[in-house]
């Protein structure tokens, strides 16, 4: 006789199936099956290479000297910073999930106790939070494993546990915000807070780059050495776990499970209310009262700019995504700035990679505008205006927003270090230029194919073009290091891709130059 599976496992199975399919849809993006399999194959090769690397170094297993108290405190602070960082990113994820309409209705309409639904969500989220970080940090971790011994495999375990904890904490934060702010404001304020927190975090993470930051670190190190605390104390358990202590890993895992248990016991009903409320909370935003007699009709350009600006301004999720994406530019930008204006040497390949990263990042607003904000592509396609006109306005607004988002933090950087500020200005230029690259090679062609398979061809072409252009730019940048002439290739990029955008003929010219 087939017995029905326990309902928690049924729910977990459901959650993981959705997760797998979400991942596979991101991975293949509706590409033909052979392309998606190829991408997956590449992923497998990457993981296998990492595993091979790990196995090859198995023989180098060596027990290092016992860590000192200041070292453990430093590692603990690093883990705490990682926890905060992952919590912030998970917060955006759990907010988006809470506001997905329909799914909660279906689950909570079923005869299943709410604590099982909450538990399955927490477990899935906690386990699902880690893989990205494991993958991203694997080169660094493998470096430790290679150079310092096999015991550093514990870093993987600790990342896994801390990411899980971060997801649980993000859920609890969301519940708290829902309680305080209500369903209408939780999404916008929560997302905004997450964005600001991320920006502050990334900015704060750069403080050691400044002389006063470095002095602070030295003083802290001296103070910790003088203090000589107990290395076996419980506050240092995460650091010990990271450095290979098995009992401390058990403590962390137990803490995670206990947190899941407590959250499920105490907050299942609150979670149910939140999910049902948020799923239906499409706030009725009322704009300042006008009557149809006061219809503000403007000229064509202003009409389009106003539409893009309003759509951008009123979308808090988009703001946070922009804030997050531009926030990531700061560390890379400061590294480039130091390399350019000081004696530090940065490898050309790393520099080109950083520029590529920054260009893709700063180009994200234009993609957001076209793919997330553009609710009515058919309206624009049937309006009696050239398509380049509409896209030109999108580009202008996205460039404006990128500049706005980048300039505010970079002004602060410039105040602390004029050279780093100057570097920031360069990155703004790169960002604007790359907006144009994305615009000409990707967006313009992709609009008619929105949500269709054909979209991926211009997407791939656009991304390849960006990588090619910024790699060339990066090499020029490196070659002309320590020289103001380094500005030249960037300005050329700006002129080429910015000023020449709007007409198809010019676009062909730019593409021709690029091909040449």
């Amino acid at each position: 006789m087939n017995l029905p599976r326990p309902r928690l496992f049924l729910l977990l199975d459901h959650e993981f199936r959705l997760w797998r399919r979400r991942f596979s849809s991101v991975a293949d993006g509706n590409r033909p099956w052979y392309q998606s399999r190829f991408l997956m194959f590449l992923g497998v090769v990457y993981v296998a290479a990492q595993a091979g690397d790990f196995l090859l170094m198995w023989s180098t297993h060596a027990t290092g000297p016992e860590p000192t108290f200041p070292q453990l405190v430093g590692v603990d602070l690093l883990i705490a910073a990682f926890l905060v960082f992952v919590t912030i990113t998970e917060l955006s994820f759990v907010i988006a999930r809470a506001y997905t309409r329909g799914e909660a209705d279906l689950l909570y309409a079923a005869p299943i106790p709410p604590h099982l639904i909450f538990a399955s969500r927490l477990i899935r989220g906690a386990l699902g939070a880690a893989p990205t970080w494991l993958l991203l940090l694997s080169p660094v971790v493998n470096g430790y494993i290679v150079f310092d011994g096999i015991r550093y495999v514990s870093i993987y375990v600790t990342i896994f546990l801390v990411s899980g904890l971060a997801h649980i904490i993000a859920n609890l934060l969301l519940l708290g915000m829902y309680r305080v702010l209500g369903p209408r404001h939780t999404k916008s304020i929560g997302n905004f807070m997450a964005g600001v927190a991320l920006l502050s975090f990334i900015f704060a993470s750069q403080f050691a780059r400044f002389p006063w930051g470095l002095r602070f670190v030295e003083r802290l190190d001296n103070a910790l050495t003088a203090f000589a605390g107990n290395v076996q104390g419980w506050p240092l358990a995460p650091a010990r776990a990271l450095l290979g202590s098995f009992p401390d890993m058990i403590i962390l895992a137990t803490l995670g499970m206990a947190l899941v248990g407590i959250a499920v016991l105490l907050f299942s009903n609150a979670y149910e209310r939140m999910m049902l409320d948020c799923g239906q909370a499409h706030g009725e935003h009322v704009q300042p009262g006008r009557t149809s007699r006061q219809l503000p009709v403007l000229g064509l350009r202003l009409t389009l700019l106003r539409k893009e600006f309003a759509a951008m301004r009123r979308n808090p999720t988009l703001w946070v995504q922009l804030l997050s994406s531009t926030a990531y530019v700061i560390p890379a930008g400061m590294s480039l700035g130091r390399s350019m204006f000081s004696g530090d040497y940065l490898d050309p390949a790393i520099m080109a990679g950083m520029l590529a990263f920054m260009s893709v990042t700063t180009s994200s607003p234009v993609m957001q505008l076209v793919f997330l904000n553009e609710n009515a592509p058919e309206l624009m396609a049937t309006a009696p205006i050239p398509r380049s006109f509409d896209l030109g306005c999108k580009w202008q607004i996205s460039a404006l927003f990128t500049l706005g988002f980048l300039c505010a933090p970079l002004a602060l950087v410039a105040w602390l270090s004029p050279l780093a500020g100057l570097a920031g200005l360069l990155f703004c230029i790169v960002g604007i230029a790359c907006h144009a690259i994305v615009y000409i090679s990707f967006v313009d062609q992709a609009v008619p194919y929105r949500n269709s398979k054909k979209m991926h061809l211009p997407l791939g072409a656009g991304l390849l073009t960006i990588l090619l252009a910024v790699t060339l730019g990066g090499l020029a940048f490196t070659t002309l290091r320590h020289s103001w002439f380094a500005l030249v290739p960037l300005l050329v990029l700006l002129v080429m891709f910015g000023a020449l955008v709007p007409t198809p003929a010019r676009r062909r010219l730019v593409m021709g130059v690029l091909s040449a």
Binding site: V286, R290, T291, S292, R293, L295, T303, E378, P384, P386
Partner: protein, 253 residues
């Protein structure tokens, strides 16, 4: 209206073809005269929406031509768009804009003078019952409400050719009546409307002429009484004619 323009067909489609994985529209030729309400009927997947999307310039045909009031859509798409409005079955409006802002956007895009746009908006909002939500963002609207906003947007620039794909979907009975009256008034005012619908009573009562597409081909065309005479033995509803015709064609196929 320009006298010379009134002589030409509002829409002239000739030898239109489109295939995706398989042929969807096959050598379609049809004319719609100015001031007609033409109902394009067909079962699911018959090619109605694809045809209308080709007319609106959203899909490039594989072969054939489309002329709107004598303007070749391939040669001068902007001029064709200037006299056309397209309302798809899924209302396309901006979630983050209010209905008033949406109307201002449309008026700006089609270069309607502000005073005229304000007057038309006022009339349309009053007719469609949108005044109370005029300053609310559209993201919270029901599908029917979005449909009304989209329809108001399509009418604010007084298009000479209005392409409507399932315009009554999501509307309650009372609002559907109001929209039908509104469309009737537009036709009486000289506008041309081409609509697709699965509600055959609407086509039966409102349409000047009816075309029935089946597997991408125009299998029947004419007024309701002509179709009734040719395919229904002079009696029966449009539904009877439609079902008989589609079933016959299926059997023949």
């Amino acid at each position: 209206m320009d006298a010379s323009l009134s002589q030409v067909d509002a829409l002239a489609i000739s030898g239109l073809r489109k295939a995706f994985d398989k042929p969807v529209v096959k050598d379609l030729t049809l004319q719609v005269r100015p001031g007609e309400l033409y109902a394009l009927l067909g079962s699911n997947g018959a090619g109605k929406t694809t045809t209308l999307r080709m007319v609106a310039g959203l899909i490039a045909p594989d072969a054939g031509s489309v002329h709107i009031f004598g303007i070749d859509c391939a040669q001068d798409p902007l001029a064709a768009r200037a006299v056309t409005a397209w309302v798809p079955d899924e209302p396309m409006i901006y979630d983050k804009l209010t209905p008033l802002e949406y109307m201002a956007l449309i008026a700006g895009l089609w270069s309607v003078k502000p005073a005229l746009a304000a007057q038309r908006t006022d009339e349309l909002f009053t007719t469609l019952g949108l005044n109370e939500v005029a300053n609310q963002r559209c993201e919270a609207f029901s599908r029917g409400m979005k449909q009304k906003v989209a329809l108001a947007g399509a009418l604010v620039h007084e298009p000479r050719l209005l392409l409507l794909d399932e315009p009554l979907t999501g509307l309650d009975a009372a609002m559907a009546r109001i929209v039908k009256d509104l469309l009737d008034a537009r036709v009486r005012g000289g506008a041309t409307i081409i609509l697709t619908t699965h509600i055959l009573e609407v086509a039966e009562r409102m349409a000047s002429r009816i075309g029935i597409l089946h597997h991408g081909e125009l299998v029947a065309e004419g007024t309701f009484s002509q179709l009734q005479a040719r395919f229904g033995g002079g009696k029966g509803s449009l539904e009877d004619v439609f079902v008989d015709l589609v079933t016959d064609t299926r059997s023949a196929a």
